[in-house]
Structures are given as C-alpha cells and as structure tokens.
Amino acid sequence: MDNPQRAVDRRQTMILFKDVSKVYGNGVAAINKLNMRIYKDEFVFLMGASGAGKSTLIKLLMKEEEPTTGTISVNSRDLSKIRKGSVQKYRRKIGVVFQDFRLLEHKTVFGNVAFAMEIMGKSRKEIQEKVGAALSLMGLSKKADEYPRNLSGGEQQRVALARAIVNSPKILIADEPTGNLDPANAEQIMYLLDLINSQGTTVIVATHAQEMARRMGRRILYLDHGVRNEELSVGDQANHVSDVMKDPGVNPVNVSASFNENAIEAYGAEEDVYGTLFTEDAIDDTERGSSDE
C-alpha cells in the first residue's frame, strides 16, 4: 500500500535527459538523442546489449563525461552548470556500486565502508554510528573485521552497497551489481536495493538480468544508443514486496520473509538501522558536504 505523499513525490523528476548525445573522440556514438526521465524515489532498470550506452549513461550521470549535445538535469540542476571544483560535491549525492565491487583489499569491511566517510572528514563517532548501521542493514555486522578476500562475492557486493549508502545519497547507481554473483546472491542484492529505494533513494540499476528485472516489477528502460522502448513490468512476488516495504510500519525483516526465503538467508537486517542511516539529518549532511574544493 503506497503512502499518498510518496505517490506525489514520485512524480517529481530526479533525472532528466533531454536530447542527449555522446560521441567519443574516436567517432563512436555511444548515445544518440536520448530523452529520459526518472522520478524521485523511483527504481529503474537500464537494460540493453553490450555497447548500448549503459555505462556511458552512468558516466554522464556521474559527470565523468560531458554530453556532446543535449542537457542532463539532476534534481532540477543542469549538470553542465556544475563547475569543475564542485563536481566532487555533486558526486557525494550519488552512491555507486560496480560489478567488480571495487573494495580496498588492505582495509577491513568496516574500513572500506568507513573510507567513504573518512574522505569527507566525518568524526570518528559519526563514522562508528553510521558504518555500524549500514553494515547492520546489509547483514554484515559480524563480518566487520574481515578483509574482502575472506568474503563471498555476494558479501563483497553488500559491503560495496553499504559504502554506497553510508553517506545517505539521493541517487544510487548500480552498474551490473549482480554480474559476478550466483542467483541467490543476486536476489539478495536486488532485495537490498529495493530496501534502499523504499527509504527514498532513487535507484538506477544497469543490468543484463532481464528475468530478475521483470520479476522486480519496476520500470525498465531499454537502451540502444538511446531509449528504444520503455516497459513497466508486472512482477509477481517482487512487485508485492516493493509495495509492502513502502509502508513505514512494516518491519523489513518480516518483509524480506515474504520476499524470498533464499534472499535473506545470509543476513538479518535490524529494524532500527533506518533511523540512523536515512534520517533527514543524514540527508542534510550530504547536502552540506564539506567546502574543501
């Protein structure tokens, strides 16, 4: 059952691509006149063959690349107007997860997640509190002192997810997050992404896992150097879970039980972690950033 306020929020545009094209120096046109709108709080899948422009789209969103033509707006802000010195501040509002996890081998699970806060000069107390909550949400509290090499692929991806959300981003981008995982772990990750989305974070997942995307019952954008087609899939279990989880009164542990037994097997999210991670204060922190450019 949807919260009415959320239904209104959902109509607010978070990301807008207007006639965006990207042609690389070697003449390859990765994206051609792409028009796309993603709403606030929305969970969107980006699908398409290799080379269809998914990675380029993510790079454009991360402002790693500039569009050759067209405009991109995020939260009503034209990305081309962001000065070079402010690009990093902008990136702090975006959490990102990759297929290859990108964890630091010499840091523990806790250290990897804390790293995202340390580089912003957060206090030790705040780091302890938020990292603890993020790990708890990901079911990794007991693995805090382990090194990535001792973790399974699914656990490593959950560490990457914890790191991506620990600074309470407005947008979470996952580039093939389940590409290196077995189906059970892939489902866990999808469940967690859904959980994060339910707390108001716009989630964009680039994936080849078509079947899983359909089962999630979320909007799918098919990319072929531009949006070729849009499809709102009608999911089964997953669709039900997504809706149920938006009810603030529902305990996530119970929700996960109705989602898929396999998906929650390896972890147990604690019910009070949202309060720590997704409060308005936390979002304010992200807004503030540190003026160290």
């Binding site: 990093q88 630091l104 995202a116 340390e118 912003m120 206090s123 600074n167 503030r288 160290d292």
Partner: protein, 315 residues
Amino acid sequence: MIRKGEAAMSKIRAFFYIIKLSLENLIKNWYMLLASVFVLFTGMYIMGTLMLTSDNISAILSEQAEHPEVEIICRSEMSDDDCLSVYRVILSDERVSSAHMNTKADNFEKMKEILQGYEELFQYEDAQSDVLYVSFDVTLKSASALEGFSTDMRKVTGVEEVQDNDSIYKYFRGISKIVRTGTIVALIVMGFLSVLLTVNTIRLTVVARKKELRIMRDLGASYAFMRGPFIAEGVTIGLLGAVLSFFAVKATYNYIARVMQRSDSALRSIINLKPFCSYSAPLIGGFILAGLLVGLVASMLAIRKYIDTERDDDK
C-alpha cells in the same frame, strides 16, 4: 555557526587523515623515498658547497679589490740601512695607504717558521739572516693603482722584485668564474634530476593507489583530499633532503675551516674562510625553500599527469 564549526572540524580531520596517508605511503615505498632524498641531498650538497666556495672566493677578491697588497723585495746584497731609501720612496708615494718593513732578520724568522721540521738547514755556518733580503708589505689605497705602482716600484734602485699577487688573484677570479658557472649548471642538472626522481617516487605511490583514487573520486572526495597525501609526500622528501644536506654542508665546511687553520700562514693570510654561522640562516632557509619547491613541483606533476589520464582508463 554550528555548520561552520563542523566544516572546520571536518577540514582538520581531513588534514590529519592526509598526513597519515602520506606517512603510510612513504613507509611503504621507503626505498624510493631514500633514492629521492639521496638525489635531492646530493644536489643541494653540491650546490651548497659550490655556493659557499664561490662566496668565499668573492670575499677574498673583494678584500683584495678594497685593499690591494704588494710585496716589494730588495736585492739581497742590500743591508737593512741601504733599504731605508726604498722605504722612503714607498712612504712618499700618494697611492700608498700603509707600509711595513720586514728586515732581513724578520724574514729569516719567517723562513724558519715556514721550514719547521727542517731545522738542520739552519745549522750551517753561513745560514744567517744576512743571506736573505729586506722586504716591504705595502697596502695601496685602491686596486686601480696596483699596476702603475708595481711598474714604478720595479724601476726604483735596489728593488729586486715586486709581487703584487695579481697572478694569484687572476687565478682566484678564474676559479670563481668556474665555480659560479658550476653552481648554475649544478642547479639546473640537479634540480631537474631531483624533480624527475621525486616525480617517479610519487608516481609509484599514485599507481599503487590507483584503485583507491578511483574509489575516492567515485565517492566524491575533494580534489584537494585526493592530491593532499601526494603533495605531503613530496614536501616531506623535499624537507628531508634540505635538512640532511644542510648538516652535511656544515660538517664539510667546518672540516675545511679546521684544515685551513692548521695550514701555513701564507695561505691563511690569503684565504680566510668566513665563519659558518654567517651562512646558517640563509643556507637552511634556501635549502628548505628549494626542497619545498622541488617537492611541490614534483608532486603536482606526478598527480596532474595521473588524474588527467585517469578517466581514459575507464573508457
């Protein structure tokens, strides 16, 4: 107000985090740290030594330019009394500032002093002061008068020789020119080598931390935060090189000064080294500035190149 305080605290924490990271990097790549510091040390040591040598030679030359000295030697067959006429000619010359007469006995004593250890030479019957000559130490009012005065004195009856040390000072001027040129060449070569090796040291750590940097960039770390550890690393290398070379130059200089003290009086009268303390402040200041400059330039070059090409790696 609270937000300003938090921002300031966050900057302080970030600063200490940067220092911690740079120290970790330096310890991890200690062999390259040693190599960089050694090159910087060698460069500064050579430059420092050359500069002090050049300055001392300049001091000697300027002393000579201000107070040119001439030694006038009379014929050995002339007695002390015979030479008084020459002394009168010298004193009456307007170009002369002061003059001192060394009798045959004075010069004999000087010779004995110089030939210490060869006392047997003076045991012969005819080894008397009488075999030596009378000489005059003359200080002129200006260096421009040196050549004319020497020429005039050579014409005076009884004068055997006029030593104006011009050849010695020409020799010093030659050395000074070589040292100055050498300092400039050393400055360019060693400066270039120091920057090159420091760039490579820092680049090694940049490459080793490539993944970490990419993660930092994705997480939104500020550019200052990403560059900070490498700049701190370069600055540390520069400072270490500066301090070590300062002490090495000091030790070398003091050693040479001690050797000069023990040398014969003739050499000591010409070469009088300035005390090292007169160089301490400008030398350590200059070294630290040069070290900081090399460290900063090297680290900026190393990071700029990497950060500019980093995006290409992802394509």
